[in-house]
Amino acid sequence: MPIKKIVSVFTSLKLTVTLLAFSIVLVFVGTLAQADEGLYGAQAHYFKQWIVIGADLFGHKIPLLLPGGYLLGVLLLVNLVCAHIYRFQLTTKKIGIQLTHAGVIVLLVGQLATDMLAREMQMHFSEGETKAYSESATDYELIFANGDQVTAIPSKLLKPGDELKIDSLPFAIRVKSFWKNSDVSFRAPMTQNAPPIASNGVALDFDFMQKPDVKKMDERNIPTAIIELTRTNGSPGDWVISEWTGDASLVEAVQNSYVDQIGATMAHTIASKLAAPQAIESNGQEYTFVLRPARIYHPFSLTLLKATHTVYPGTDIPKDFRSRVRIDNPQAGERREVEISMNHPLRYGGYTFYQYQMDAGQMAEQAGRVPSSVLSVVRNPSWLTPYIGCGMVGAGLLTQFMFHLVGFVSKRKSK
């Protein structure tokens, strides 16, 4: 009987044991790999993966074939659900075990849901600034703006070689290259020995270079692409679009890197060239365009009133990060102030706002910067599942353990 056989495989303890053993190996290797590949790289390679082929450990390539995190998770889930249905007995002796496994199912399903549904964004602002949108830390979009009309193209669509035709734009976009991470340097007039990488705009004054993807958690990729725009009456050539030109803090970083070399005034000129908007004209209309982090607009806005970073006396050890913000929600007629600090997020409008990074306190003061704060903005519809799952497993294990313990003690006593 094949069906019976399949059932017996999927309900078997042997399968559970095998899957657990593989999970241990996977988690261990996936942890080691973080030293080489970085946290996100290792996550994609091992955990958010069906099959793991090959590993990079301590600078060595190692041949390896492992079931990935998704596969193990799904198989464990199937195994658990089958065993649960097949062996379900509602007896006091088994109730703890049943509850435990039901809890594990909730946790696994919850994590799978989180993986698919959760969105993680960020909100950057300086004191006094108001933001009605959150930005992605990993995804970008190419924006064309013509007055009020804005067209956003997700960077996922910008594949080298592709040509994009969009109804709202009177020109086509051909992607020549797309680099996930890049560097920029000023093309000093005296030392140019190669032609610019694009024929228009910022590329005339700056060289952009591809760079390996970042591995550390506190670094990020800065993408750059070369695009060609073609109108019906011919192509005016290609442009570089890069986050280097759009992000104020990156522009400032470039400026600062030149201050020592060529002085503050020149560095400022260079920075303003880098940040100069790029545009294309078509049928008498001007379209400005820029590559920027993908945005989600909220029906409310947050204003950063005060960013505080306190340290323990006489040290640099951070004691507290705290952002005082005002929520403005015209639809709900709501206007109130709240404080967001480490371990005390704000849950509002289906999103949770966490204190993430901060540039405030003595350091910012000395450097003459306006205090600023970064909130991590998360939307996770299944955020409650770990709480429920943990409660179920905890209660289940405790019941089972107490049941055994009481039995053991009374048996000892009666001896």
Binding site: V17, I24, V27, Q34, P313, Y356
Partner: protein, 630 residues
């Protein structure tokens, strides 16, 4: 007669041990006509962001520099030649206020031979007063330029890629900076007569300010006064920039604790706080110590103390309490008793003497009570749950394991629980002792960790999980050692060991699971993600998976008594990896506890556990106990 002996041996033995402890740890009093260094050690200052008594500052600094809490002034002498050993506070007082003497004391421990030859330090030679390990500030300063060049090179190398020698250079640099900070805590370093210099500065301030103001207004000014003030300012700036401990208490003018250098810089400023009594009192102490006048020192100390009483009563009380804790050394004493108790319990297995076993249990209880007292005392001092850093996790794991061992002993009464308590208690306290070498063990909590709720739930649950997994693993080690090497593992003992292991693994699963998931919930509360595959999270997850694996193997009948034992030893490996190993990867949110020397020990531990697993897999005919049974 014999019965009375058997009945009374355990309590009498315990009483004797208590007596020895009291005798050895009774707080010492300062002698009347000598420097009151013990009282000096009770003064509160602010260091590492918290109020500490000078006694703790002295002990922690000396631990960081010399890896001991006392200073041996004659290390070249053997222990039987009665070398002069001074307490940490006496050392600290001299470093801070009498450096011409202290700079010749051999307080820097140097082990790396390459570093010794780089600094041209003398080899071991008793005739030349060198032990080849401990050197003075002056000996090292002789070649400080060479050292600085090397250190600049090493600083450019990422910590993970350094060789042992380069690590030694980096460590030496930290030690030298710490020493320089201490030298500039109370007075300008190397000032031959600090009270006189301070008085001169105070007298100069009005004229100096006048000269500076005139110079800035473009008028005629007194060049001598101008230059002297500028020279003082730059010297005090050097003092302040080293960021030494903050020794001046809040006053009417200044609301926070201040560094001496900052206070001296502040005095001439338009709205500055003028030089006050506390600065003078410190200068008097310094002057008296340099001039070797105990009476003057003690009376300046008394004056300073009495100025603290009205405003700093809380800090004084806290400092006194911490000094008492330092003097009692509860964890060290508990460690010694654990060794003694463990040995007694092991002997009891061989001659099966109930009296020995009972004595061992009494002593384990004594050590446990001391261990518990120390743990609670620390919690009260810190105002925190038991585990706040790697050091306290070791203390707590030892405590939890000891408690589990006592419970097992209560039920089984076969000396096994006592050995578990004593063994794990001893090992974890040794680990804690070594972790304390990195500095202040009661450091302040970084912003994200600053929540007693999660420290009390997630951290305690996870460390309890660690403790219980270690208990299961230790029981398994007992099973294998007794089984393979002795004939004492009879069938009943083997069965009871297996039952203990099984029960403890269940317990471990409960706590490590709950602790791990609580950690996820904490992460969800503070970062918005439940699970991020951070190395420490993964380490904890592996423990949960491992324990779950053992339980399912057992339920499925895939392993029996011996399989359970072998798997439980695997738990030791997995737990040590999670506790220390992941921190050594130097990545992730929890990489707060990196210690390079620990890597060697971790590796050694893992290899030893693998060896035990191999032993456990030997055929039964090679096990002494099983061949004896047959």
């Amino acid at each position: 007669m014999k019965k009375t002996f058997q009945k009374w041996l355990p309590p009498v033995l315990t009483a004797i041990v208590i007596g020895i402890l009291l005798w050895a740890n009774w707080p010492t009093k300062d002698k009347d006509n000598d420097f009151a260094f013990t009282e000096f050690g009770q003064l509160p200052v602010t260091a590492n962001g918290r109020i500490v008594p000078l006694d703790s500052l002295a002990r922690n600094s000396l631990l960081a520099i010399r890896e001991k809490q006392t200073l041996n002034l004659e290390p070249w002498k053997g222990w039987n030649e009665n070398p002069k050993i001074i307490p940490a506070t006496e050392w600290l007082a001299n470093v801070m206020m009498n450096s011409s003497v202290a700079d010749d004391w051999p307080c820097f421990r140097v082990d790396n031979p390459d570093l010794i030859s780089l600094l041209k330090l003398p080899d071991k030679d008793a005739a030349k007063h060198s032990d080849g390990k401990h050197y003075s500030w002056n000996q090292i300063a002789a070649n400080i330029d060479t050292f600085t060049n090397e250190n600049n090179r090493v600083e450019a190398i990422e910590a993970a890629n350094r060789t042992a020698y380069e690590n030694a250079v980096a460590k030496m640099h930290e030690r030298l900076v710490l020493y320089a900070q201490l030298k500039n805590t109370v007075q300008l370093e190397n000032s031959p007569d600090w009270p006189a210099e301070l008085a001169a500065y105070e007298k100069l301030i009005p004229d100096g300010i006048a000269a500076v103001n005139a110079q800035q207004a473009g008028q005629k000014f007194n060049q001598t006064n101008f230059d002297s003030l500028v020279a003082y300012i730059s010297a005090f700036q050097y003092m302040a920039n080293l960021e030494p401990p903050l020794i001046l208490p809040p006053t009417d003018g200044a609301r926070e604790w201040r560094r001496m250098g900052d206070a001296l810089l502040d005095a001439p400023r338009p709205n500055g706080v003028p030089i006050d009594d506390s600065i003078h009192d410190w200068a008097k102490m310094a002057g008296a110590l340099t001039a070797n006048q105990p009476d003057a020192f003690n009376s300046a100390l008394k004056d300073y103390y009495s100025t603290l009483v009205p405003t700093q009563s809380k800090a004084l009380a806290k400092a006194r309490a911490e000094v008492f804790f330092n003097q009692m050394e509860p964890f060290y004493n508990a460690m010694v008793i654990y060794v003694f108790a463990g040995l007694l319990a092991i002997f009891s297995w061989f001659n099966l003497s109930e009296t020995l076993r009972r004595s061992a249990v009494w002593l384990v209880w004594l050590a446990f009570v001391i261990h518990t007292t120390g743990l609670i005392y620390r919690m009260v001092l810190e105002g925190r749950p038991p585990v706040t850093n790697l050091y306290s996790s070791a203390i707590f794991i030892g405590w939890g394991a000891c408690l589990l061992g006592i419970i097992l002993e209560k039920f089984y009464k076969n000396g096994i629980g006592a050995v578990v308590s004593a063994g794990i208690g001893f090992i974890t306290l040794i680990i804690a002792h070594n972790l304390a070498l990195t500095g202040d063990t009661m450091e302040m909590m970084r912003a994200v960790l600053d929540t007693n709720f999660w420290l009390a739930t997630h951290v305690v649950a996870v460390t309890t999980g660690y403790a219980s997994t270690f208990v299961a693993g230790f029981l398994a080690l007992i099973y294998i050692v007794r089984g393979v090497f002795t004939k004492t593992l009879d069938e009943a003992t083997g069965k009871s060991l297996a039952r203990m292991i099984y029960g403890i693994v269940c317990f471990a699963t409960l706590f490590s699971f709950v602790g791990t998931v609580l950690g996820g919930i904490w992460a969800d509360q503070s970062w918005g993600r439940f699970w991020g595959w951070d190395p420490k999270e993964n380490g904890a997850l592996i423990i949960v998976l491992w324990n779950a694996l053992i339980l399912h193997l057992r339920w499925g009948g895939m392993i029996r008594e011996r399989g359970l034992v072998v798997c439980a030893i695997g738990g030791n490996i997995v737990t040590s990896w999670s506790w220390f190993g992941v921190n050594m990867l130097g990545i992730g949110l929890h990489s707060y506890g990196f210690t390079d020397a620990a890597f060697k020990w971790l590796l050694l531990f893992v290899v030893s556990q693998l060896a035990f697993i191999a032993l456990g897999l030997l055929p039964f005919k090679w096990w002494k106990s099983f061949s004896a049974r047959a």
